[in-house]
Symmetry: C2
Subunit: 356 residues, 2 copies
Amino acid sequence: MSTPSGPGLPAKSGHILAIDAMGGDHGPAEVIAGVRLALRNHSSGIRILLVGDKAALDRHIAAEGLSSDDRVEVFHASEVIGMDEKPIAALKHKKDSSMVRAIELVKDGRADAVLSLGNTGALMAGGTLRLRPMEGVSRPALATVIPSRGHQFVLIDAGANPDADPIHLLHNALLGKEYARCALNIKNPRVGLLTIGTEEGKGSEKILEAHALLKGANGLFNYCGPVEGFQLFRNEVDVVVCDGFTGNILLKTLESCFDMLKDFLKEELMENPVRIAGAFLSKGAYNAVKKELNPESLGGAPLLGLNRLVIKAHGSSKRGHVAGAIRVAGEALQHEITSAIRADLDKLASAAGNPN
Amino acid sequence: MSTPSGPGLPAKSGHILAIDAMGGDHGPAEVIAGVRLALRNHSSGIRILLVGDKAALDRHIAAEGLSSDDRVEVFHASEVIGMDEKPIAALKHKKDSSMVRAIELVKDGRADAVLSLGNTGALMAGGTLRLRPMEGVSRPALATVIPSRGHQFVLIDAGANPDADPIHLLHNALLGKEYARCALNIKNPRVGLLTIGTEEGKGSEKILEAHALLKGANGLFNYCGPVEGFQLFRNEVDVVVCDGFTGNILLKTLESCFDMLKDFLKEELMENPVRIAGAFLSKGAYNAVKKELNPESLGGAPLLGLNRLVIKAHGSSKRGHVAGAIRVAGEALQHEITSAIRADLDKLASAAGNPN
């Protein structure tokens, strides 16, 4: 482990990811265990700047055997923003919090991206206020990968911008396309606009306007038209575009539905010795389903459309998910996702200027 | 079986349900098998008026041993609206279709409610145009029951009104409360407003306005405040109020997610002899989960807020679901759901007139 050498960190090779190490339900120990996993398994050359209480972090770094790993550094911050604090008030009053400091390190160019398991609202507000939306994007969007069988898709927006206008949905399509390229490694992702009834003339007014905009942006992404809810788990699209209200409700309902099903089946399987024996014999089937539908490799959800990359991981993330989020961050940085998005926006702007 | 005695059907006791017997993926045979089940299992005293091709219907009625059952009658209609036809055009050009005739029988007072497994858009448009929204309700809403573990909840609106204004969400709360009373037999259903982030000040602008309206209508229903997606499967509310866009996407995504999970687990369980043996031993667990999460007893989704009751059943409904839809219709008629809704609307109007 090296310590940061003052205001300008040494410009070593590889991207630097600032991690708000104090957020998350399981504390910094789990975050740092995730860092160790990530550094062991992935070769993106990423370097980690852990932000938080230095004494605590040093202890966990030592426990994970990372003290002599010069890819890991610590930046001290004395405060922590709690999960239930009001975002704006917390950002204002906790200037020396691990989250605020991590965002500032990115703003100051001392890190390339920020990852936090902490308060979602604070991260979104802090990221947006300090790192600013890119020219041409008025509202950032939260992208998340939803696993299905033999297939995964990007849902964008998962909650950043509930009152999205049609133009925001067009931006979400661009952002989602670039994210599917990085996170799912798909060259030309199929983009669908989430709606109800795919016949012409159905859906809300906003969706009809958005559909026209997405159709008009043909060439910038592979637009497959409107998609309905029943198509999401059928491998028909790679990017599902929606407003943050619909996306957040969908994501949280699906998570809660999965949990209910898992617990329900588990308890039924444990109800008597015969069922328990049966469950033991067919254990491989459950593990296969669980592994595919809850992949640790996709631990993070980026807030896209800002000048720098901000990644949110679930508060309940375990080390495997933290490592997954670090992997996603590393790949997005390697793919230079923000430059790719900026290039798309430039093309969009020039197409609007020259309608032919 | 009795045949209708001309323009005025005999005013026997019990409510009359007109069934568009030609809609549905499995044809009239399955519908009539469902009628037989319903008449055998339920004692609501409901009478059935089957609408469609008389020759075909008579044949299936005979096959089900219902020819001498005077609770079953037939009304001839020569045409059928297809599942993929454009609703308005179909209603206009197929005046002698089973769906149009069934709706007209209700309009003319010769039946009390209509049930169809056919084209959803045509049923919603036809019902709305011919049976008209109630005074005080500008847009009807589709209510559906979603099963969870040891609990079920009403989702309203499941797709009738995608561009809902806050006042429509208030009406949905009233309609959903009355439906939960009939379909789930809950005296004072807990009503929640579906949103993202339940802290004050979060959610879309529309939701914040709707929240104020629902809070203001206190006393008309048991309003529990905003609910998030993750609360839906946790038995926290009995009625989930949302716009038809969000509701339809949620419903269809959940259905498709269930199907994916079921197929995935099934195939994994069948992958090798050991897993097959295990699955056999723990069969009881799967059956318990399946029975609770796919109850045939809830086959129908009513379009509420019209002067008469219109019920939609899934096109893929099998006889058990048809019987469930008939049961729901019977209970809603016995509970006089439309009168109850009208009384609520009157209270709402007088409360608006006398703000103290």
